[in-house]
């Protein structure tokens, strides 16, 4: 749930989602669910000339499994908190595994 938890805090921030088919879509993160499906608004494809069929698309729903990277706005990431959250998650997992 760490990633889900993390992405929830990025809602309404602009992110760039890179898909496994190399399309990079920049848009405002509107929602994310536990499968890390992503909804973007006001999207713009980074290399628009190459994907003209997407130039008219304004918002997208991206299935979590096709996402390769999500480029984050570093300013809206609380690194210390994220480190702690990671520690907790790890402790959680360790606790469950036993």
């Amino acid at each position: 749930m760490l990633f889900f938890s993390f992405f929830k805090t990025l809602i309404d921030h602009e992110v760039t989602v890179e898909l496994k088919n190399d399309i990079r879509i920049r848009g405002v993160l509107k929602s994310v669910d536990q499968y890390l499906n992503i909804k973007l608004d006001n999207i713009q494809v980074v290399d628009e000339l190459q994907y003209p069929h997407l130039s008219a698309v304004k918002n997208v729903f991206i299935r979590g499994s096709v996402v390769r990277y999500v480029h984050l706005p570093s300013g809206s990431v609380d690194v210390n908190l994220l480190e702690d959250a990671t520690r907790r998650e790890a402790a959680n997992q360790a606790g469950k595994g036993k």
């Binding site: 749930m1 760490l2 889900f4 938890s5 993390f6 929830k8 805090t9 536990q34 499968y35 609380d78 210390n80 908190l81 994220l82 480190e83 702690d84 959250a85 520690r87 907790r88 998650e89 402790a91 959680n92 360790a94 595994g97 036993k98």
Partner: protein, 845 residues
């Protein structure tokens, strides 16, 4: 119970004057209650003498909920009230009817509905009123009707006893026949009982049906909607006139009927109109109607006849569809003919049309065409409306809610530690960002509530009776609660181990959507064999174990922070022993955790000669540095002092000092070291600075004394070291200014320590500056010099000036060649020092 003062003498119990549906339980009250009026005794038997033509109005007049009430009502029966009670249901039924109707009409297929319209048309000559349709729809055995009757349940206690009595009663013996469905549906009958009833009914029903079929002016016996709506079922077995067949449709024992809803609307039938429908088929219909009434409670989605909220709404839009001018324009079946009539200038018959002028005719036809077009559009759009009844929707909603609750935990538990465990980053982040959300649990709570309320509103808006939606909400809440409880109690079986298989199959859930790997952790796993990629030799223990110990410090820190969050309120008074106990217990736990943290810091370790102190090693890692702020927060004053002392004692061993030496010749540190230095000054120095500013003079003296025992030259040649020295010296100066020599001994100690320190640092002074004069990073050196200068005696000041004179002169000269603002900045830095010894750069220019 003689309503219009009719003669009670002649009563034909087999007459169907009042009855439109067979009531198996009618007359039961006779056996139940000796004191009550007995139907046979009181009924006047005038049923047959009544003019039956207008019987269709009876239920409008009496209201179909009047059954049990009517038994006790006298001549002052509240006709209006009874009707008004069900007016909503009438409307709803009507909408539903209209909604269901268009497909048949548009397609011009003769379905069962033609039979219905036949009936209506038959009725028409006898009563040109808009009412009959409504009246026939109302008691039709729709389950929506049942919804309406729910309110009656409380009054009808006597019905609760009913089912065990003789289920068969003389047909039409009850004045309000359809009421039978109420008690019957309330009480879940066993299959045997139902079958028995059906068998018993079949005879009378058969007779009735024959009667109906034979009658040229039929009472609409089996409700027409019924016949139309369920063509799928009817036509599935058109050739089986026997009752045994439909039984499997409605076994009350089978809860699996949940999703058995027949596709009701789109069942176009090739069947020709059946004005003279065989009685057998009608039996079946009748049978179905009865049985559906019996089994209603066990079926959640089964009944297609329920009026859906959407249906009701759409029905309004669709009203105009019905009145397409035809051979029977004054269709009695459609009250809403009125609306059409109003629009079209009251044209109810083609003959009227003929009387109109050409112009009016054209206008009328145009309007008609428009309307037809629009109606068709609406029909196309609304084809799928009402596929889900509100019950269906709430059923689905409940399932979704359960999943939601299972996924996110009980909404009531949010904001507690449990949710923090799963959703730590989000919860804390939103708390930190603050603002909109007062409470971290809000979003999810709202989420769940939104759904609950939405359902409630939809229900409430559609059905205007008060208890329904509320009950529904409660039921839903209860169900969710139960589901949560069950999920909690049930031991979580997260994986399936098939016997003989080598692996495990993991189930996914909302929290772990895809647990593909199921690695069992082995505590004794020895992973030292693994080659560690970034193995950097650091004296004293290997990197991995050091990182591990830092992690353990962090986990202790987090435990302490969690513990702080649950701090009980301090006991209000001495009497509250429980609160005191709690507080004491909390304090003990906090103490234990603090002790754990302190040991894991290993401040008191004594490393072998030649090895770094573990705490200094700890500070050489960036996460160690970052932890300092949090560690200090949870330490006692004494522990903090110990740490400060330890740091000062090991100053020249700190990597940020030892590895970050600067000289005027080679000042440029590599990027990594610069970063480390920055981090150290941000994370550690700030903490030390804050702490140092609270120290008393004797401790400051002691610390400076400790510095003197170390390699002052190394310390002063690093930015961190110089800054720390500045901090110590300036703290002493501030204390001096605050209390003017109250403690002579302490000041004496300070003076001597300062002198000692000055002697040590004097030779380093010219070499402390980072880089040549042109570099602009020497602010901290001027600060140190200023701090030195303030505390220095006249002699020491002299020596200070001599040591750094060249640098001062060079900087002043340089500042003249620089742009004015940059030059002024540099001069200001120098002036910091100059002013501390009573001089000013102005004097040098």
């Amino acid at each position: 119970m003689s309503f219009f003062g009719f003669d009670k003498a002649h009563h034909n119990p087999s007459g169907i004057g009042f009855a439109q549906a067979h009531n198996p339980f009618a007359g039961l009250s006779q056996e139940d209650d000796g004191d009550a009026l007995e139907f046979e005794d009181t009924y006047d038997g005038l049923g047959d003498q009544l003019e039956e033509t207008n019987d269709a109005f009876n239920d409008d007049t009496f209201g179909d909920s009047a059954g049990p009430v009517a038994a006790n009502s006298g001549p002052d029966f509240d006709f209006f009230g009874q009707t008004a009670k069900v007016s909503n249901a009438i409307e709803e039924e009507h909408f539903l009817y209209n909604r269901q109707q268009p497909p048949a009409r548009v397609a011009q297929t003769a379905t069962q509905s033609s039979y219905q319209s036949y009936n209506q048309q038959q009725t028409a000559p006898y009563g040109y009123s808009s009412q009959p349709q409504a009246s026939s729809s109302k008691p039709s055995g729709y389950s929506t009707g049942y919804e309406k009757y729910a309110d009656l349940q409380a009054d009808a206690d006597l019905w609760g006893l009913a089912p065990k009595k003789q289920p068969q009663a003389p047909a039409a013996s009850s004045p309000v026949p359809n009421v039978s469905s109420v008690p019957a549906s309330r009480k879940v009958l066993s299959l045997e009982e139902v079958e028995a009833q059906m068998r018993a009914q079949s005879k009378t029903a058969h007779q009735q049906q024959q009667h109906v079929a034979a009658s040229p002016a039929p009472q609409i016996h089996a409700p027409p909607q019924m016949q139309y709506i369920d063509p799928a079922i009817q036509f599935a077995q058109p050739a089986q006139p026997h009752f045994s067949a439909p039984v499997d449709h409605h076994s009350p024992h089978v809860p699996v009927t949940i999703l058995q809803r027949p596709q009701s609307k789109h069942a176009p039938s090739p069947q020709p109109p059946q004005p003279s429908q065989s009685p057998a088929v009608q039996h079946q219909q009748h049978q179905r109607q009865q049985s559906s009434a019996h089994i209603h409670p066990t079926q959640i989605l089964h009944n297609p006849n329920r009026l859906s909220g959407d249906g009701a709404r759409i029905g309004i839009n669709q009203q105009p569809t019905a009145p397409i001018p035809g051979p029977f324009p004054a269709h009695p079946g459609h009250r809403h003919q009125g609306s059409f009539a109003r629009q079209a200038g009251v044209i109810t018959h083609p003959s009227q049309l003929a009387q109109l002028s050409e112009e009016e005719k054209a206008v009328y036809m145009e309007q008609e065409a428009k309307r037809a077009k629009r109606n068709h559009k609406i029909f196309l759009m609304s084809r799928d409306n009402g596929i889900m009844t509100p019950q269906d929707k709430s059923f689905v909603t409940r399932i979704q809610l359960q999943q939601l609750v299972a996924a996110t935990g009980n909404p009531n538990e949010h904001g507690t530690d449990e949710s923090l465990v799963e959703d730590f980053y989000y919860q804390v982040h939103t708390q930190i960002q603050g603002g909109q959300r007062q409470h971290p649990s809000q979003p999810l709570n709202n989420f769940a509530q939104t759904y609950l309320f939405q359902t409630g509103n939809r229900q409430g808006g559609m059905r205007r009776h008060n208890r329904g939606p509320e009950n529904h909400m409660q039921r839903m809440e209860q169900q969710v609660q139960r589901a949560v409880e069950a999920a909690k109690n049930k031991p979580k079986n997260k994986q399936l181990v098939i016997e003989g298989s080598l692996g495990k199959i993991s189930f996914s859930n909302a929290k772990t959507p895809k647990p593909l790997l199921n690695i069992k952790r082995n505590d004794s796993a020895n992973d030292t064999n693994r080659p560690s990629s970034a193995h950097r030799p650091i004296t004293g223990g290997d990197r991995k174990s050091e990182l591990k110990s830092i992690e353990s410090i962090y986990s202790t820190l987090m435990k302490i922070e969690d513990h702080d969050r649950v701090m009980p309120p301090p006991p209000a008074n001495d009497a509250d022993t429980e609160a005191i106990d709690n507080f004491v217990a909390w304090g003990n736990d906090a103490q234990a955790l603090n002790q754990k943290l302190w040991t894991s810091l290993r401040v008191h370790d004594h490393p072998e000669p030649g090895y770094l102190h573990p705490f200094i090693t700890f500070l050489s890692y960036s996460k160690g540095k970052k932890a300092m702020v949090r560690i200090f927060r949870h330490l006692t004053q004494e522990q903090r002092t110990t740490i400060l002392t330890l740091v000062v004692v090991n100053l020249d061993n700190l990597d940020v000092i030892r590895n970050a030496q600067v000289t005027p010749a080679a000042f440029q540190l590599n990027a990594a070291m610069r970063e480390t230095v920055d981090l150290f000054s941000n994370a550690v120095m700030s903490v030390l600075f804050t702490f140092l500013n609270e120290l008393e003079l004797d401790l400051v003296t002691g610390i400076l004394g400790l510095v003197c025992t170390r390699n002052v030259d190394v310390i002063a040649k690093s930015r961190i070291g110089a800054t720390l020295l500045t901090m110590i010296l300036s703290r002493a100066e501030i204390i001096k200014q605050q209390n003017n020599g109250s403690n002579e001994q302490a000041w004496h100690d300070w003076e001597s320590t300062y002198t000692r320190f000055f002697n040590l640092i004097e030779h380093t002074l010219p070499h402390m500056f980072p880089g040549p004069v042109t570099s602009d990073e020497d602010v901290y050196v001027w600060q140190l010099l200023a701090a030195l200068g303030i505390g220095a005696g006249p002699d020491q000041q002299q020596r200070l000036v001599l040591a750094v004179k060249d640098r001062v002169m060079d900087t002043v000269a340089l500042s003249k060649t620089l742009p004015p603002d940059l030059g002024a900045q540099r001069l200001q830095n120098v002036n910091l020092f100059m002013r501390s010894i009573g001089l000013d750069v102005e004097l040098l220019q």
